[in-house]
């Protein structure tokens, strides 16, 4: 045990003492945080868009349109963090106030926009039956105004047509606002508090999103740790340290030590990322109403129950041992990363299959194929965390764990022998070397 811990300690320190480790450690959370917050900040810092209305319809639409724009005015105190700059209705620039035809307007508007006198100009016309709104904006803001007041403008056409058919405006308004009651219900959402769309949505989609998230994290962790192990063993093989190690410790002690050391590296990374996630979440929760923030916390607590966390860890450990020791065995045959290509290619394909499956599972978590694939031991560590949040039957959990455990033990045994063989011989890497020679000792 002492030797195992010494090897683990060396392995751990070899990584965490490098500048590259700390750079890569903070790079991902920084990129993750930046990809969320920078667009939000950009939107928040955007000034309100000024909109002028040139009403050539003869229907006195300008007050209505200005009213619609006013509904999207910038919120007092800066508004929500996600809010954009909003819209502000402004008087027509002098150049357009005397315009009486659409053609004349079209001729003058580009210059007005270019001069920065106004952000957008809505030109309203009426051919007697259909209203037309040409919304001019500067490049990069083509749809901003349309997206904000689209349905309001359609409403004006609705009322116009109702009026043409002699329908009372009040009745037309009621008709326009009238909606059938349509509910989509699942057993989970049915238990959500009534009229709380956020809670319902969280209960309905939260576990699935978290399941996919956990599966991705598991995949990334196992993949990156396996690559670390591969690189570490290749370095030891190329620098001729492996034989010295083997003369001082057993293959099992070396392999377990290395696996443990890299696991500690992973734990360090996980702790750092968890701290960043926690900080970001606290920041994010600050923008949620207290009741919703509390509900999210309760939902997360329910998903990450102790039993589920234990199962997630069990699947992770199984996958880590299977792939980590396999990659370490590959490394024992190689002096360069290039030497590993012959076996790495097919292995990467096997690893990519669950990754691709996860993307489908995001939208269709109950596919039978996903269930069958999760029983394949090499996919189990990645697909079962995804299914775990859907509460699969206990016998499936036990069965997949048992199968994965058996394959992990077989792979550890084979990997241990292949590792020793690779370390002590100059044999080149091949599937034959790994599988055939892995069955017997050197």
């Amino acid at each position: 045990m002492r030797k195992t811990l010494l090897i683990a300690r060396r392995e751990y320190l070899a990584f965490v003492r490098t500048v590259g480790f700390w750079l890569s450690l903070f790079t991902l959370p920084l990129i993750f945080s930046a990809s969320i917050f920078i667009p939000m900040l950009l939107r928040h810092s955007e000034p309100p868009q000024t909109v002028a209305v040139l009403d050539l319809s003869g229907d006195h639409l300008e007050p209505d349109v200005r009213g619609f724009i006013a509904q999207h005015a910038p919120r007092p105190n800066g508004g929500g963090f996600m809010d954009s700059g909003g819209l502000t209705a402004v008087p027509l620039p002098p150049e357009l106030s005397s315009v009486t035809t659409p053609e004349a307007a079209e001729a003058k508007i580009p210059a007005v926009l270019a001069a920065g006198k106004v952000g957008s100009v809505i030109v309203a016309t009426d051919d007697g039956r259909t209203l037309r709104f040409r919304i001019w904006s500067n490049d990069g803001h083509k749809d901003d105004v349309k997206d904000a007041i689209l349905w309001d403008l359609h409403g004006l056409q609705y009322y116009k047509l109702a009026g043409m058919h002699g329908i009372d405006h009040g009745l037309a308004h009621d008709m326009r606002e009238s909606r059938a009651i349509i509910d989509t219900v699942t057993p989970t959402s049915a238990t959500a508090p009534k009229k709380d769309g956020f809670a319902e949505g969280f209960r309905e989609h939260g576990p699935r999103i978290l399941g996919v998230f956990i599966s991705y994290i598991t995949w990334m962790s196992i993949f990156s740790s396996s690559m670390i192990l591969l690189g570490s063993v290749i370095e030891e093989k190329s620098s001729k340290v492996l034989e010295v190690l083997l003369a001082s410790a057993s293959t099992g002690q070396i392999l377990v030590g290395k696996v443990l050391g890299v696991a500690c590296v992973l734990l360090t990374v996980a702790a750092m990322w968890a701290a960043v996630f926690f900080a970001v979440s606290r920041f994010g929760f600050g923008f949620l109403p207290p009741d919703k923030a509390q509900m999210v916390m309760m939902g997360l607590s329910a998903i990450f129950s102790p039993e589920r966390v234990a199962l997630l860890l069990a699947y992770f450990v199984g996958g880590y041992l299977m792939f980590g020791i396999f990659f370490a065995a590959i490394g024992a045959f190689c002096e360069t990363q290039k030497d590993a290509q012959a076996v790495m290619g097919p292995t990467m394909i096997v690893l990519m299959i669950p990754m691709i499956t996860m993307q489908t599972a995001f939208t269709s978590p109950d596919l039978p194929m996903l269930r069958y694939m999760s029983w394949f031991p090499l996919f189990t560590p990645f697909l079962m965390p995804l299914r775990l949040v859907q509460n699969p039957p206990w016998w499936e959990i036990a069965g997949t764990l048992a199968l994965m455990g058996v394959v992990a033990v077989l792979m550890i045994n084979m990997g241990r022998r292949a590792f020793r063989h690779g370390a002590l011989t100059g044999e080149k890497l091949s599937w034959g070397a790994l599988l055939g020679l892995g069955r017997r000792d050197v």
């Binding site: 090897i7 070899a14 340290v241 034989e243 003369a247 410790a249 002590l424």
Partner: protein, 309 residues
């Protein structure tokens, strides 16, 4: 008696499929001695060393190391592999302390010993430098220190002199003598005979996986015929007729006024003195008569069947 034996191999064989790397090998090494494990390239030395270390299992036979059979005694063995290497990004002292730790030495003790030994070997100033910043000779010394820092009872050195300059070779010879002087046992494999000749009391020779000799250095040398260099104005037939001369090689005209130079190989047990007396009796015109004692190199060539040394 077994307490005097540091290493004992009995009928050890090692096969890789149809290839027999080592066949029915038996020999023993006494405690406190330096034993040369000699053989040409591919003779099975490294395979044997790996079996002794427990890195690979023998196909047949028994190996007893430091009185223990079937158990790993790696913590009591120091091993310097033929292909040397250390963690390039570790400092010299950290690398030694790490490897000593794997041999069961406490970190504080290992660190003190490492610093002392580095100092003794002229590497005190490089103790805290990364291995990658040391010269090849310096890093080899660091590895040798790592092999010895846990004060092993048995030291196995696989081709320890390869890659070392003459000064460091001499230094390593002194280190090996020092190990034996403090009661340690050294088994070192080499195919460079002068080192073995200077260091060993006993030698074991291997050829094609089989033992061809086990005994003292003197016994090994005796296995090779004595040689004579005879220079003078005489014919090859004159030389061939001398008593005890088994074969004669004409090396051509000698330098100066010496006539021709002949190199003779004597029969086993034949005395150069007898041949010299006979030459005088015959009145041969001899300007130089030099008896050459057989070297370990000669014995090696004879015993390994002329394999390349």
């Amino acid at each position: 008696m077994s307490g005097d034996i540091a290493l004992n191999l009995k009928g050890v064989s090692k096969s890789y499929g149809d290839f027999h790397a080592v066949s029915d090998l038996s020999f023993s090494v006494k405690r406190g001695t330096i034993c040369g494990f000699l053989g040409p390239n591919g003779a099975g030395k490294t395979s044997t060393v790996r079996m002794i270390l427990g890195l690979s299992a023998p196909t047949a036979g028994e190996i007893t190391v430091l009185g223990t059979q079937g158990h790993r005694v790696m913590d009591r063995i120091g091993f310097l592999p033929e292909e040397r290497g250390l963690y390039r990004k570790m400092t010299a002292v950290d690398a030694i302390v790490f490897l000593a730790g794997l041999k069961g030495v406490k970190a504080s003790v290992a660190r003190k010993r490492a610093l002392d030994m580095l100092e003794q070997h002229g590497l005190g100033a490089s103790a805290h430098k990364q291995i990658r910043n040391l010269s090849k000779g310096m890093s080899q010394k660091v590895q040798l220190i790592a092999c010895l820092v846990h004060e092993p009872e048995l030291v196995i050195l696989d081709e320890p002199f390869s890659g070392l300059d003459p000064v460091n070779q001499q230094s390593l010879e002194d280190v090996i003598r020092g190990i034996a002087a403090r009661g340690g046992t050294v088994l070192f494999s080499t195919h460079v005979m002068p080192h073995a000749e200077r260091l060993c009391q006993d030698v074991v020779m291997l050829s094609k996986g089989r033992k061809v000799f086990e005994g003292t250095l003197k016994q090994a040398c005796a296995a090779a015929p004595r040689r004579l260099d005879i220079e003078g104005h005489l014919s090859e037939a004159d030389v061939r007729a001398l008593p005890g001369v088994r074969s004669v090689e004409d090396l051509g005209v000698a330098e100066g006024e010496g006539g021709r130079l002949y190199r003779c190989e004597l029969d086993p047990g034949a005395s150069p003195h007898t041949a010299l007396k006979a030459a005088f009796v015959k009145g041969l015109d001899i300007t130089r008569f030099e008896a050459r004692e057989p070297t370990l190199h000669d014995a090696f060539i004879v015993l390994t069947g002329g394999a390349h040394a």
